[in-house]
Every structure is written in C-alpha cells, then in structure tokens.
C-alpha cells in the first residue's frame, strides 16, 4: 500500500490537528529558520513531536532547510545529529551537499525532496548508487517521465494534493510589505496573503513561493496508482490546521475506496483560488484537466 504523508511545521500544529489518516509525517518547515515554532529550529519541541508521533505509530521524517548557504550548514549538521539521537526514520534534504554529507558521514536513510531538481534517469541512477533511499522527482515532470524512474531501486514520492513550491529565494520578500500589512516576522506569513497578477496567483511562504492553486490528483489517482509509486504527499505546510486533517481523510478514503463526488467538491471548496494538476499532464502547472467528474 502506498504511504500517505504530509508535513507539519510546528508542535502547536501537531497538537491541534489529527494526523490519523497519514502513515508518516515530515516535521519542520524547510523554507524559513525563523518561522514561529519551526521544529527544525526548536529541539525541545522536536523531541516532544517525535514522541507524540511514535506513540501514534507513525513514521517520523525530519526535513531540513531547503536552500542552505555556508552559514546554514553547521545548523543543519546539528539538526542531523539531533534527528539521529531521536531515532527518526529518515531525513529529508533538497541539497546535494547535505544529502551527500548524510550518506558519507552516517549512511542514514535520506529522502531527496522536490527542490533537489531530479529531472533525469541519469541523476536517479547516481542517487541510487549514492544510497539515497527515496526521491521526489522535480515538480515540473509529467507522469511519463516519472514512470521511467521506476527502473531504479529508489522509492518515489510525489505530491497528490496541495500547494506545490514554485521557487525558493535567499530571503522573504513578503517582509518588504510589513508596513502595508501591519505585521512583521514571524506572524506575517501565517496570514492569508497572496501575490496576484491577472490570471496568476502565488502564495508567499517564507523564502519559498507556492502555487496559488491546490494541485489536486483526486480524480486522477488511478493514473498515479498504475505507476506503483511508494508515497503520496499532501503538501500542507502553509495551510490552516484543519486542512491537513480534512484532505488526509479524503485521500485515505480515496485510496481505500473509490471516487466520492462530495469529497471532490470538498477539496475544491478548500482551494480558494481553484485546483490544478501541476505538471503531470505536460501542461502549464496552473491548468486543471478534468477526469472522472467530467
């Protein structure tokens, strides 16, 4: 059975929502060290969160900062040490330097995340040889390209729902508007705030920019199932607390049962700026291709 995973940025969020529908949880927000309560920066909270999840019988993965510069590396190395001490199940990184460091220094289980830019089978083969256990193919890849990666002995995780990352920067541009919004770090990014230009809507979140629309593969899950992938991710890092639980329940039912029109309508209602398929069908990421529901 495919693993259903999501991400939880803080202990507060973990305490207030049910993660029951999920098999595994990525802890921490990879887009900003200063995010209020970020589990990658607060080791006491991290310890409690891991304990909670283990009691629930969930697998625990720790994420790491997505775009580390030299000065970030010592902090990441400390986080890795802590993660190993707390006996987590895997560490996620999107930086080849960090991935290589974890494999060479600790030979610990690594998941290469979506910003790792894994576009080709040549790179999948290289990561397989390095011992990387799981990859997320580049978000820009269509299903036909992801399918080719199954030839290698590496687990594959893809996003099935939520706002996909579209870019990452060296700083938080949203802070340029702190006077306009009347709010500063670390509160401003927790508001419902969007960049909008004509047809295009984006969601700023820390150093990352996310899609304004929710990627939704609810109608098309069989197409992904045919690939026999290893994990489906619901991207909920920037969402309000209830979103994670509601979407998780709907996809759990979808995986164990079938298409339920009311659930699909619910997913659409949760997406303020609509749904899309990302790049799975070789179209612009913000386009939605109708499926079972016409």
């Amino acid at each position: 059975m495919v693993e259903l995973v999501t991400n939880v940025p803080t202990l507060e969020v973990l305490s207030k929502c049910s993660v029951e529908p999920y098999d595994a949880i990525y802890l921490g927000n990879p887009y900003c060290w200063d995010y209020d309560g970020n589990l990658i920066s607060n080791f006491n909270d991290l310890e409690v969160a891991i304990e909670m999840l283990k009691e629930m019988g969930k697998k625990v993965y720790i994420t790491t900062f997505a775009a580390p510069r030299n000065a970030d590396l010592p902090k990441i190395f400390k986080l890795i040490d802590k993660a190993l001490e707390l006996n987590v199940d895997a560490i996620e990184s999107t930086n080849y330097g960090v991935i290589n460091y974890i494999k060479k220094e600790y030979d610990f289980r690594v998941h290469a995340g979506g910003f790792t830019n894994i576009y080709t089978s040549a790179t999948v083969e290289l990561l397989e040889n390095l011992g990387v256990e799981r990859i997320m193919p580049a978000y820009e890849l269509p299903i036909e390209d992801i399918e080719k990666f199954k030839e290698y002995d590496v687990e594959i995780e893809v996003v099935v729902h939520g706002k996909i990352p579209l870019g990452i920067s060296h700083n938080c541009f949203l802070l340029e508007f702190k006077d306009d919004v009347g709010m500063d770090c670390p509160h401003i990014c927790k508001q419902e705030i969007w960049y909008k230009s004509d047809d295009l809507v984006l969601k700023p979140f820390g150093n990352a920019t996310l899609s304004g629309k929710d990627l939704c593969m609810y109608e098309h899950i069989e197409k992904l199932n045919e690939l026999n992938l290893d994990a489906y991710r619901i991207e909920s890092i920037s969402e309000r607390i209830s979103y994670r639980e509601m979407v998780g329940k709907i996809y759990r039912k979808r995986l164990e049962g079938g298409f339920i029109k009311e659930d699909f309508e619910k997913l659409k209602s949760l997406a303020k700026y609509g749904i899309c398929n990302g790049f799975y069908f070789n179209k612009a990421g913000q386009i939605y291709v109708g499926g079972l529901d016409g």
Binding site: A67, P68, R69, N70, A71, D72, L73, N95, Y96, G97, V98, I99, N100, Y101, F115, N117, Y119, T120, S121, A122, T123, V124, E125, L126, A138, Y139, E140, E144, D145, K148, F149, L166, G167, I168, S169, H170, F173, F177, D180, V181, Q191, E192, I193, W194, Y195, K196, S197, D198, D199, L200, L202, T209, S211, F279, N282, K283, A284, G285, Q286
Partner: protein, 314 residues
C-alpha cells in the same frame, strides 16, 4: 590569469566578443540550452565557432544544460560525441547525472556546473566536483566571503557572473514561468518546453508582471517581484585574485551592445592587473552601458509576456 568568458548568441557575436578581448565564448547547443532557440547554434555553426576561436588561440564552451527526458539521454550522448569531436573546450551542464556520463565518456573534457545547478555551499560544491565538475558557476547572491570559503574548502574552479540579472528566486529552482504558461514543441526530435528554462525553453518572466498583494484587502499593488540588473565593478579587483573566470551573460542581446560590454570589462580587468584604476571613471562608463542594456531588456520582456499571454489564450 582569470578568464573573461563572453556570450555567443550567433556566429557574428562569437567573432565580435573575441575581437573585443574575450578569452573564451559560450554558445548554446540548438535545443539544449537555457535560452530561446534563436540564440543557440546548430552543429555546423558550432564547428565554425570553434574554428574562429582556434584561429585566435581562444576557446569555446558549449551549453548543453537543458534537462532532457529519459529517452533523450541517447541523443545527449550523440550530441556529446559531436561536441567532443568538434573540439569544444568545455561543456556547461545542469544535471549531475549527465555530468557523470560526460566524466565517464570523455574524462579530458572540462565540465562546468551551470548556474542552473544553484550551488550555494561548499558541501554542494564538493559534491559537484566529485561528480566531475572542474568549475562551478556561482549564484549572484553569494557574498565574497562565501565564494572564498567555497574555493578554500571545495578546491574547485569558480566562475562568477559579472553581467547578468538577479532573479526573485534562486536560478534553476524556479518554475513560476511554466506554472503560468507552457507549450511542448520539438527541435530535431528533442522536446522543447517553451516556458520552462530548466527544460530548455524561454522564461516568460512572470516576475516582471505587475503584482498586487492581497488578503482581506489589497495591501499593495503595481510592484514587480525582484528581477534586477546585476553588474559587478567594484568587486572585480578582489575577484580577479581568487576566482577563475568572470562571465558576461547576454546571448539574447544585440551583438553591438555585447561587444561594448566585453570591451569595457576587458579594459577594466587589464587596468586592475596594471593597478591603474580610478573607479569613478569606470562607474560612469558602466552606467551608460547599463542604460542601453536595460532598454534592450525591456523590449525583450514585453515580447516574452505577449508570447505567454497568447499561450494562455490557446
């Protein structure tokens, strides 16, 4: 001696930048680089570019840094065979798996890790070095201290952009353009994703659209997401002491403008080495060049935005 690398968006530009004092030129392989195909060279033109370079005692790098589909890796290898036999000095690559293929096939062919690799720290630089890269292109956002530390710890060649654009996001880790609009075409059997620079097509520059910040109300409007001209000058006297290559981007600009920019930097680097620099004079000259360059970029940006709008209507 630090190398001055210039763009070759056409054979005419290749000749012009060598005349202007560039040590080497980079050209895009048709259908395989991070720019529009009209600024790339076909096989015959690449052979001619190498001959032009050899006549001047200079060299050619081939940018083959678009991400191919899995079934296109065979085409990549064929293209690599061609580039090697044509006598290019180096290949510029974006994908670490493809670097391994080049390293195994042609160990003497120099590999440059493209700006699209977005190498941000010394551990990553070591990883690319071990994968075969002899030189890495540094992101424009890295500081002088960071560059020094990478050089010291990774012991790999460093190429620094001195004329480019800094983007809203880290270059190579952005798909805002293809999220907005995308068309899949083919060039000689190789897929060509118009709207995705990572996959070999143009960027529609969504950063430069007019944006609003909205929530419960409109907080701000009419702003761009940062995408600004990047021209180094004051830093160059220090950079020439420890980096290996200074690169001028701009295959898509007019040959006349690029020739002027290359001449400017050639003369400035020579003056730095001779220790004859009055920075105020050079800043004034660069300011004039920057105005010309911005005017050209604005025209290109408007063209690209129109293309993107048409894609959406289709």
């Amino acid at each position: 001696m630090v190398e001055l690398l210039a763009p070759g968006g056409s054979l005419e530009m290749v000749k012009a930048v060598f005349d202007a004092g560039a040590d080497s030129v980079y050209v895009g392989v048709k259908g395989w680089s991070r720019r529009a195909s009209r600024y790339e060279l076909d096989d015959e033109q690449i052979i001619k570019a190498v001959k032009i370079a050899e006549n001047d005692g200079k060299s050619v790098r081939a940018a083959i840094n678009a991400m191919p589909k899995t079934h296109e890796i065979k085409m990549f290898k064929e293209k690599l065979d061609f580039l090697y036999s044509a006598g290019v000095d180096a290949v510029i690559l974006n994908d670490v798996g493809l670097m391994k293929i080049v390293k195994d096939s042609y160990p003497d062919l120099k590999i440059v890790a493209s700006i699209g690799c977005n190498i941000l720290n010394y551990e990553e630089a070591k990883f690319y070095r071990d994968a075969g890269a002899r030189m890495i292109v540094a992101d424009c956002k890295l500081s002088m201290d960071e560059l020094r530390e990478i050089k010291e710890k990774a012991r790999v060649g460093i190429e620094v952009l001195i004329h480019a654009n800094t983007d809203f996001t880290y270059l190579g880790k952005c798909w805002m353009s293809s999220y907005k609009a995308l068309r899949v075409e083919s060039i000689n059997g190789k897929s060509y994703y118009v709207g995705s620079p990572n996959r070999g097509g143009v960027c529609f520059r969504p950063c430069l659209m007019k944006w609003s910040l909205i929530g419960n109300k409109t907080y701000a409007e009419g702003f761009n997401l940062p995408n600004t001209m990047f021209l180094l000058l004051d830093e160059i006297p220090e950079l020439v002491n420890f980096v290996d290559c200074l690169k001028i981007q701009g295959r898509e600009y007019s040959t006349g403008l690029i020739k002027k920019i290359v001449e400017f930097y050639r003369n400035f680097m020579d003056a730095c080495i001779a220790n004859e620099v009055n920075l105020d004079d050079w800043r004034a000259k660069l300011h004039e060049l920057a105005k010309q360059r911005d005017a050209e970029r604005i025209r290109k940006t408007i063209e690209l935005m129109k293309v993107a709008d048409n894609e959406i209507r289709i």
